[in-house]
C-alpha cells in the first residue's frame, strides 16, 4: 500500500510539472501578439507603462526564470491575477464552496441514478422499460447544460417560481437556500452523465451475465437478485467507478463551466471561463494545476475502491 501511495505521489508530481509547463507554454509563449505586458497595459498604454508592467511581472526575464517564478508564486499562494490583482488563491477559495457543493451533489445523483437506470435497463433488456430508459439516456447525453439550464431557469424558476433564478447561497448561511439554489444545477449537470453512465453500466452488466463466475454463482443456487447484486453488478461497477472518479475530479477542478455559468454559481469553472476570456494566464494555470491535483488524488482513491471491488486487481 505504501509503495502504491509513494508511486502515485511521484506520478502526481511529474504530471503536475508537465501540465504546468504545457499551460505556461500555451499562454505565455503562444499568446497572440506576444507581449503580455502590452495586453495588460490596455489600449492607451505608452511604451513606458508597458515596460513598467513588464518589469513588475517579470516578463522581461528569461522564459525559464518566468516559469520558476510563476510556479513559486502559485505554490506559495502569492500569485495575483494579472487583470484584477486579486490573489488567485483567494479567488479559488471564494469559488470552491459552490464548486464542491455542485460536484458532490451532482456526483452522488449521477452515480446513484445511473446505477439504478443501468441495472433496470440490463435486467429488462429488450423490454419496454429498457427502451424507455434508452431513449431517456440519449436525450440526457445530447442535452447541452446551457440549453437545459436555460429551460429550467425560464420555466421552473421564472414562470413557476419554484426555484431561485440562479446564484449561490453558502451552506453556512442557509441550508434551505443552499439546497434551493443547487437543485437545478445538480439536475442539469447530472443528466448529461446519467445518460452516458447508465448505457455503459447496462452494457457491462449484459456482458458479465455470460461470464463463468456468474454461471458458477447460479450453479451454486443463488437467487437472481443475489447473482445480480453480489457478482454481476459488483464487477460491472468497476468501469463506472473509474469514470466517476475522473469526471468528479474534473468538476472539482472547474470542469462544469457551462453549468456554473448558466446558474451564476461563481464557482471555479466560472473563474476558469473568465480567465480564458481575459487571457489571465496565472489564474488559469493555478486552476489547471488544481484540476491536475484533483484528478490524480481522486484517481488514487478510485484505484483503492476498484481494488476493493475486484480483489484480482492488485494495488502494487
Amino acid at each position: 500500500m505504501l509503495r502504491f501511495v509513494v508511486r502515485r505521489m511521484l506520478v502526481m508530481v511529474a504530471l503536475l510539472i508537465v501540465i504546468s509547463m504545457f499551460t505556461f507554454a500555451m499562454f505565455v509563449l503562444l499568446l497572440p501578439n506576444g507581449n503580455p505586458a502590452a495586453l495588460l497595459a490596455g489600449r492607451l498604454a505608452t511604451p513606458a507603462e508597458i515596460h513598467l508592467i513588464s518589469v513588475r511581472y517579470g516578463f522581461d526575464k528569461p522564459i525559464y526564470i518566468q516559469y520558476i517564478d510563476t510556479m513559486k508564486n502559485i505554490f506559495t499562494g502569492q500569485a495575483y491575477s494579472y487583470q484584477s490583482s486579486f490573489n488567485v488563491l483567494d479567488e479559488i477559495r471564494a469559488g470552491m464552496p459552490a464548486t464542491l457543493s455542485l460536484a458532490i451533489g451532482a456526483g452522488l445523483i449521477w452515480l446513484l441514478v445511473s446505477i439504478l437506470f443501468g441495472t433496470i435497463a440490463a435486467v429488462r433488456a429488450g423490454k419496454y422499460a429498457d427502451r424507455v430508459l434508452t431513449v431517456l439516456s440519449m436525450i440526457g447525453v445530447s442535452m447541452p447544460p446551457f440549453f437545459f439550464g436555460a429551460i429550467l431557469i425560464y420555466y421552473v424558476a421564472y414562470k413557476a417560481n419554484i426555484i431561485p433564478i440562479g446564484g449561490y447561497v453558502p451552506f453556512s448561511q442557509s441550508v434551505g437556500g443552499w439546497f434551493g439554489h443547487l437543485v437545478a444545477p445538480w439536475i442539469t449537470l447530472s443528466i448529461l452523465f446519467i445518460g452516458f453512465y447508465s448505457r455503459v453500466l447496462r452494457s457491462s452488466i449484459l456482458d458479465s451475465i455470460n461470464e463463468d463466475y456468474v454461471r458458477t454463482a447460479r450453479a451454486k443456487g443463488l437467487s437472481e437478485r443475489q447473482v445480480l447484486i453480489r457478482h454481476s453488478l459488483r464487477n460491472s461497477l468497476i468501469p463506472i467507478i473509474s469514470l466517476w472518479g475522473l469526471d468528479f475530479a474534473q468538476v472539482i477542478g472547474g470542469g462544469a463551466i457551462l453549468t456554473e455559468t448558466v446558474y451564476n454559481l461563481h464557482g471555479v469553472g466560472e473563474l476558469a471561463r473568465d480567465s480564458i476570456g481575459r487571457l489571465d494566464t496565472i489564474t488559469l494555470m493555478e486552476i489547471v494545476i488544481l484540476t491536475g491535483i484533483a484528478v490524480v488524488v481522486i484517481g488514487a482513491i478510485v484505484d483503492v475502491l476498484v481494488a476493493y471491488l475486484d480483489p484480482r486487481i492488485r494495488l502494487a
Binding site: 499568446l31 497572440p32 501578439n33 502590452a38 495586453l39 497595459a41 490596455g42 489600449r43 492607451l44 498604454a45 505608452t46 511604451p47 513606458a48 507603462e49 508597458i50 513598467l52 508592467i53 495575483y80 491575477s81 487583470q83 484584477s84 490583482s85 486579486f86 490573489n87 483567494d90 479567488e91 471564494a94 469559488g95 436555460a150 431557469i153 425560464y154 424558476a157 421564472y158 417560481n161 431561485p164 433564478i165 440562479g166 446564484g167 455559468t261 448558466v262 446558474y263 451564476n264 461563481h266 466560472e270 473563474l271 471561463r273 473568465d274 476570456g277 481575459r278 487571457l279
Partner: protein
C-alpha cells in the same frame, strides 16, 4: 444589482472600466466632478472637492483651486491638498490605464516621475495649510478640467500602499464607500457616514445600501429583474434579444433603451492602403451600409448615425448626412462608386472581435463588401487581444474592421485626439486604426483641443465643421450610436433614477418606493 461583467478593480488606482467607474465616481470624488443628472445636464462639470472649478492661467497651462474646508475621508481622516499629489503619483506607479494618455504627457514633471527620474511630480504644488493645489501642464490641454474628474484622480489618503489593493481599496471622499469585496462575486456600496456633514453641493448623499452581484448569465439577470427578485440590470450589459420584447411589454414602466450619446460604433478604413486609399471606395462603404440590418443584428441597440461625434459630445453636427439618411443604404450606388474608384476586385481583410454582436456586424460587413465588388474575408481575433493586435500599425497594418469609442469625458478632443489626429499614429497601441493623417484635421485638433472645457461653447461650430468634413471625406464609416438598457425592479422609484451620461446608473439616485 446585477453586473454581467466584474469591474477590473474597485481600487481606483487601477480601474479603467465602465463597471468600475460606475461605482468609483461616487466613492472617489475628484477636484471636479459631474452633475448628478440625466441627459445632457449630466455632462456638466461641477466643483468636486475644490470649492470652485479650477482657475486657468498661464495661457491654459496652469490650473489651480482650493479644497473645501472640513473634508474628511470615509475613514474619518482629514483630506489634505498633498493627498492629490500622492493620488496622481500612485495612479502613475500602478499604473492606471488612462495615465499614459491623461497624466504623464500632460502634467509637467509626470513623465520624469514615471521614468523614475524624479521623486515627485514637479508640476504639482500643494499647500496643506491653505488647501491650495496648483497643477502646471506641459502644454495647454483643454479638457484638463475633465481629467481632474476621473475617479482614478479622486483623492485617497497619502501613504496608502503604492500597489493595487483589490479587496481593500483605499478610503475616498464620496457619498459611498465599498465594502465586503468577494473576488469576482460580489461587493457592497454603503453610504459614507461622513459625507452628509461635508455639505458638498450637487452631490447627493444617496439613499440605500447597494448589494452588487457579478452574474455573467445576462438571460438570468434580465429575468431576475423582470420578476423583481433583483433590482437593477447593469446598463453596460445587453438585454438578450430573446427577452427584449417580453421586457418591453411586461415592464414598460421600468425599462427603456437610452442613447447616452457618448459612444460611437464605426468601421475604420485604412487610408494608406488600397482600396480605401480611394475616397470613392470609402464613400461606397458609407453609402451602401444597411444600418437597419446592423441594428437588427444588435437586438435594436444601435441608433443609426453618420457623424463621428455622438450627440452628447459638443460639436456633434446637426446638418443632414452627406451620403444620405442612414438606414437601408443604397447598394446600387455603392456598387457604382466601387466601379468608379477602379478598386473593384481588390482583396479586403475585415478585422473583428469574437463577441456578439460585433462579430455578426463584421460578418454582415464582409458580405456587404463582397456584394459591392470587393473580395473580402473576415479575420476574427480574441476579444482580449483585438485592439492591441489591430493597434500594431506597422506590423499588422489592418485594412478595415470594427472599432468603437466611449467618451472618457464630453469633449470632442477625446475622440479626435487619439482616433483621427495624424500625430497620434503609433507603431504599437495605435488607436488611429485608419491611419488618417489629414493636415486639416491635425491643425484643427491642435487649435481647438486647447480650448478649456468650460469655454467649449465658443468653438462648437468649428468642431461641427470638422466633424462634417470627416463625414464628407468618409474617413470612417460610422454605423451607429449605442443605446443602453435602463431596467429596474418594481421596488425602485424608477421616475427618480438618474441615467448619468458618463457613468450610467447614478447609485445615489437609487431609492425604494
Amino acid at each position: 444589482m446585477l453586473l454581467g461583467t466584474a469591474p477590473q478593480s474597485l481600487d481606483p488606482g487601477l480601474d479603467y472600466t465602465t463597471q468600475g467607474s460606475e461605482f468609483n465616481w461616487v466613492v472617489y470624488t475628484g477636484l471636479t466632478t459631474y452633475s448628478h443628472a440625466s441627459g445632457a445636464a449630466g455632462g456638466q462639470l461641477i466643483p468636486g472637492l475644490c470649492s470652485a472649478l479650477p482657475t486657468i492661467s498661464n495661457g491654459g497651462k496652469t490650473y489651480s483651486c482650493t479644497l473645501r474646508k472640513g473634508l474628511v475621508f470615509s475613514n474619518g481622516k482629514p483630506v489634505k491638498a498633498s493627498d492629490f499629489a500622492y493620488t496622481v503619483e500612485r495612479a502613475i506607479k500602478i499604473p492606471w490605464g488612462g495615465s499614459g494618455s491623461f497624466i504623464t504627457p500632460i502634467i509637467a514633471g509626470a513623465s520624469q516621475y514615471a521614468a523614475g527620474k524624479a521623486k515627485s511630480i514637479s508640476g504639482i504644488t500643494t499647500n496643506d495649510a491653505t488647501g491650495k493645489i496648483t497643477i502646471n501642464l506641459t502644454a495647454p490641454y483643454g479638457p484638463f478640467d475633465n481629467v481632474l474628474a476621473f475617479p482614478s484622480l479622486g483623492l485617497i489618503p497619502s501613504g496608502f500602499p503604492m500597489k493595487v489593493e483589490a479587496t481593500s481599496p483605499p478610503s475616498g471622499d464620496g457619498p459611498y464607500m465599498i465594502t465586503n469585496i468577494v473576488p469576482n462575486q460580489s461587493f457592497t456600496a454603503v453610504r459614507n457616514p461622513h459625507w452628509a456633514a461635508q455639505n458638498i453641493p450637487g452631490i447627493p448623499a444617496g439613499h440605500v445600501t447597494v448589494n452588487v452581484k457579478i452574474s455573467s448569465n445576462l438571460q438570468a439577470n434580465a429575468l431576475a429583474v423582470l420578476n423583481n427578485s433583483a433590482d437593477i440590470f447593469d446598463w453596460a450589459d445587453t438585454i438578450p434579444g430573446s427577452l427584449l420584447g417580453q421586457i418591453q411589454s411586461q415592464a414598460a414602466s421600468r425599462f427603456k433603451m437610452v442613447n447616452l450619446g457618448g459612444s460611437t460604433y464605426y468601421i475604420f478604413l485604412n487610408v494608406t492602403e488600397k482600396p480605401f486609399s480611394s475616397q470613392l471606395a470609402r464613400e461606397a462603404v458609407v453609402t451602401g451600409l444597411n444600418q437597419d440590418a446592423m441594428s437588427r443584428l444588435g437586438s435594436g441597440t444601435l441608433e443609426p448615425a453618420c457623424y463621428f461625434l455622438p450627440p452628447a459630445v459638443p460639436g456633434h453636427p446637426t446638418a443632414p448626412c452627406p451620403y444620405g439618411t442612414p438606414g437601408l443604404g443604397n447598394l446600387a450606388k455603392a456598387k457604382q462608386l466601387v466601379k468608379q474608384s477602379g478598386m473593384e476586385g481588390q482583396p479586403v481583410t475585415v478585422w473583428s472581435e469574437t463577441r456578439s454582436p460585433r462579430q455578426q456586424w463584421m460578418t454582415y460587413y464582409t458580405q456587404f463588401l463582397n456584394q459591392i465588388g470587393f473580395k473580402a474575408t473576415q479575420k476574427v481575433i480574441a476579444d482580449a487581444t483585438y485592439f492591441t493586435t489591430i493597434g500594431q500599425a506597422k506590423s499588422v497594418h489592418p485594412q478595415t474592421g470594427f472599432a468603437d469609442w466611449n467618451q472618457d469625458f464630453p469633449n470632442p478632443v477625446d475622440f479626435y485626439g487619439p482616433l483621427l489626429d495624424g500625430n497620434s499614429i503609433l507603431p504599437t497601441n495605435n488607436e488611429n486604426f485608419g491611419q488618417t493623417n489629414d493636415p486639416y484635421i491635425n491643425a484643427q485638433v491642435k487649435k481647438l483641443g486647447s480650448t478649456p472645457t468650460t469655454q467649449l461653447s465658443s468653438v462648437v461650430s468649428q468642431w461641427q465643421a470638422l466633424d462634417e468634413y470627416v463625414a464628407r471625406k468618409a474617413y470612417v464609416a460610422v454605423f451607429g450610436y449605442q443605446k443602453f438598457p435602463f431596467f429596474a425592479s418594481n421596488r425602485l422609484n424608477y421616475g427618480a433614477l438618474v441615467f448619468q451620461p458618463i457613468y450610467g446608473w447614478d447609485i445615489t439616485s437609487f431609492a425604494l418606493k
